[in-house]
C-alpha cells in the first residue's frame, strides 16, 4: 500500500513551518510519521502538502520549566523514555511512554505528535489530561497556550487550527502517587481501555471519543464506550472499574 501523491516540503525553521502551514491549503505536519505514514499508506489521509518538520533544528529538547517537564515537538518518545530528568520529576510520563507501541516505533514517534494525533485509545493524551498540563501551539498569528482539558475535541480531533504547529507539551511535576494501567490483547497493541492516576486525579482512555476525567469513586459514571471486535461496551466499563480500583489501591 503506497501513499497517494503529495507535495513535499522540508523547512528548516519553525517560522518556515508556520508560513507553509499558513499558506498551503490542506497541509499536514510530518514529525515521527508513526501514525501519519500508516494513514498515508492506507490512503486514509490524502493531504495535498506534507510539511516535514524533522529538519528544524532546536526543536527536540526535554527540559524543566515552571514546575514541570517541557517536551518539544521533535523529542522522540524513546528519548523521553530514557530521560533521567523525566524519570526523576514525572515518573508517570516515563511509565506511560513505555506503554506506547514498541521501542522501534518510539525511536521515531514523538510525544507532541501523539498529542496532536489524538487517538482516543492512546496513553499520552490521557496522561497530560490527568496531570493538568498544557501545549503550546504556534502559527503565523503567534503563539498560544492550550490547556489539556481544552485540547481534545473528538476522535483524531484537537483544538489545533489547521495552520498551527504543536511546538511543545508541558507536563506538571508529580512524584507520587501515580499509576497507568491498560488492558490490551497483546503488549504494544492499542488499549481496549486504560486509566491514568495522577495524584488524586483520574483520566480514562479507550472508552470515549477523547480521554476523559473521571471520579475515582465512580469511574464508569456517564460513560458510553463503543463495542467492537476487540471488546464490548460492558467489558470496557468493567475494565474501567477494575483498573481504577487497582490504580487507587496503593
Amino acid at each position: 500500500m503506497k501513499p497517494p501523491p503529495f507535495e513535499y516540503h522540508a523547512p528548516t525553521t519553525v517560522d518556515e513551518v508556520c508560513s507553509l502551514l499558513g499558506s498551503q491549503e490542506d497541509a499536514k505536519v510530518l514529525a515521527g510519521g508513526q501514525s501519519l505514514v500508516p494513514l498515508l499508506n492506507f490512503r486514509l489521509a490524502r493531504p495535498r502538502h506534507l510539511v516535514d518538520i524533522n529538519r528544524v533544528a532546536g526543536l527536540d529538547r526535554i527540559y524543566q520549566r515552571d514546575g514541570g517537564i517541557a517536551v518539544q515537538a521533535l523529542a522522540r518518545q524513546a528519548e523521553v523514555e530514557d530521560s533521567q530528568l523525566v524519570a526523576r520529576l514525572c515518573p508517570l510520563l516515563s511509565a506511560a511512554v513505555r506503554l506506547v507501541a514498541h521501542r522501534v516505533i518510539r525511536n521515531r514517534g514523538t510525544v507532541c505528535g501523539s498529542l496532536a494525533h489524538a487517538d482516543p485509545a492512546s496513553e499520552l493524551p490521557a496522561v497530560i489530561l490527568a496531570l493538568g498540563g498544557h501545549v503550546i501551539a504556534r502559527s503565523v498569528r503567534g503563539e498560544r497556550l492550550i490547556a489539556a482539558e481544552q485540547l481534545f475535541k473528538g476522535v483524531f480531533e484537537t483544538a489545533l487550527a489547521p495552520d498551527e504547529l504543536l511546538v511543545e507539551a508541558w507536563f506538571p511535576e508529580l512524584i507520587d502517587p501515580y499509576a497507568i494501567l491498560e488492558e490490551s490483547r497483546r503488549h504494544g497493541d492499542f488499549a481496549l481501555a486504560g486509566v491514568v492516576r495522577a495524584g488524586q486525579h483520574l483520566a480514562l482512555f479507550g472508552v470515549a471519543p477523547t480521554p476523559v476525567i473521571a471520579d475515582p469513586k465512580d469511574p464508569a459514571a456517564g460513560l458510553q464506550p463503543s463495542g467492537d471486535l476487540e471488546a464490548s461496551p460492558e467489558f470496557r466499563l468493567r475494565l474501567v472499574r477494575v483498573l481504577t480500583q487497582r490504580a487507587f489501591a496503593a
Binding site: M1, K2, P3, P4, P5, R43
Partner: protein
C-alpha cells in the same frame, strides 16, 4: 538403520544466505517485473451496472487495465477443484466479476503498471457503478433464505452433512451436568 540423524540436533544448511538478507522471495525478483493492483467491490452483494477504466488506462505508467469483458475466460466460473461428495450446489466465482459481486473484496478490475504506486493511483481512477443487493452474511440469515446468494441454489444450501458417533441422547441424559454454549467461528479458508 543408521541413527546418525535421529536424536541429534541438526543444523540447517540454508540459514547463512537467509540471515544475510540474500533470500529470493517473490518480490525480491526484479528482472523487469511489473506490479499490479486489484479494484475490489466494497459491497457484499451488488449488481455491477457499469465499469469505466478509460481514465485509469490513460495514466502514465499504466500498461493495462483488465475487466472480465477483456478476458476470453471472463464469463467462465472458476473450476471447483475438489468437489466434496455432499456438495450438491457447488458455486465458484469468476476471476473478475462482471455481473454480480457476492462478497466485499471481490475483484472487479486488474491494473498492471510500472510500479505499485502508479497501479494504486490508477485503481482509484476506475469507476464502478453498483446496485446494492440484499446482504446475506451469516449462516442464520442464509438459512432463513429470505434472499438468495445464487439464483439457482435453493435455500442457499450448498451441501448438507451430519456426523454422529455414539448415542448422543443417552449420553446427555446420563450426564451429571449439562452446559449449552454458542460458538461462532470465522471462515478458515475460502
Amino acid at each position: 538403520m543408521t541413527t546418525r540423524w535421529f536424536g541429534a540436533p541438526v543444523q540447517r544448511v540454508e540459514d547463512d544466505r537467509l540471515l544475510r538478507g540474500h533470500g529470493r522471495f517473490t518480490d525480491d525478483i526484479a528482472e523487469g517485473a511489473l506490479e499490479c493492483c486489484f479494484v475490489r467491490s466494497p459491497h457484499a452483494h451488488a449488481r455491477i451496472t457499469s465499469i469505466d477504466v478509460a481514465a485509469a488506462r490513460e495514466l502514465p505508467g499504466v500498461l493495462a487495465v483488465y475487466t472480465a469483458a477483456d478476458l476470453p475466460f471472463g464469463d467462465v466460473d472458476l473450476p471447483l477443484l475438489i468437489p466434496h461428495p455432499n456438495l450438491t450446489h457447488g458455486r465458484t466465482q469468476r476471476c473478475l466479476a462482471s455481473e454480480i459481486v457476492r462478497y466485499a473484496g471481490e475483484a472487479v478490475a486488474f491494473v498492471v503498471a510500472e510500479s505499485r504506486y502508479v497501479a494504486e493511483d490508477a485503481a482509484e481512477l476506475v469507476q464502478v457503478e453498483y446496485e446494492p443487493l440484499p446482504v446475506v452474511i451469516t449462516p442464520e440469515v442464509a438459512a432463513a433464505a429470505e434472499h438468495l446468494v445464487h439464483d439457482d441454489v435453493p435455500g442457499n444450501v450448498a451441501a448438507e452433512m451430519a456426523q454422529e458417533a455414539g448415542d448422543v441422547e443417552a449420553a446427555l441424559a446420563k450426564a451429571p451436568r449439562r452446559k449449552k454454549l454458542h460458538f461462532r467461528y470465522e471462515r478458515g479458508a475460502a
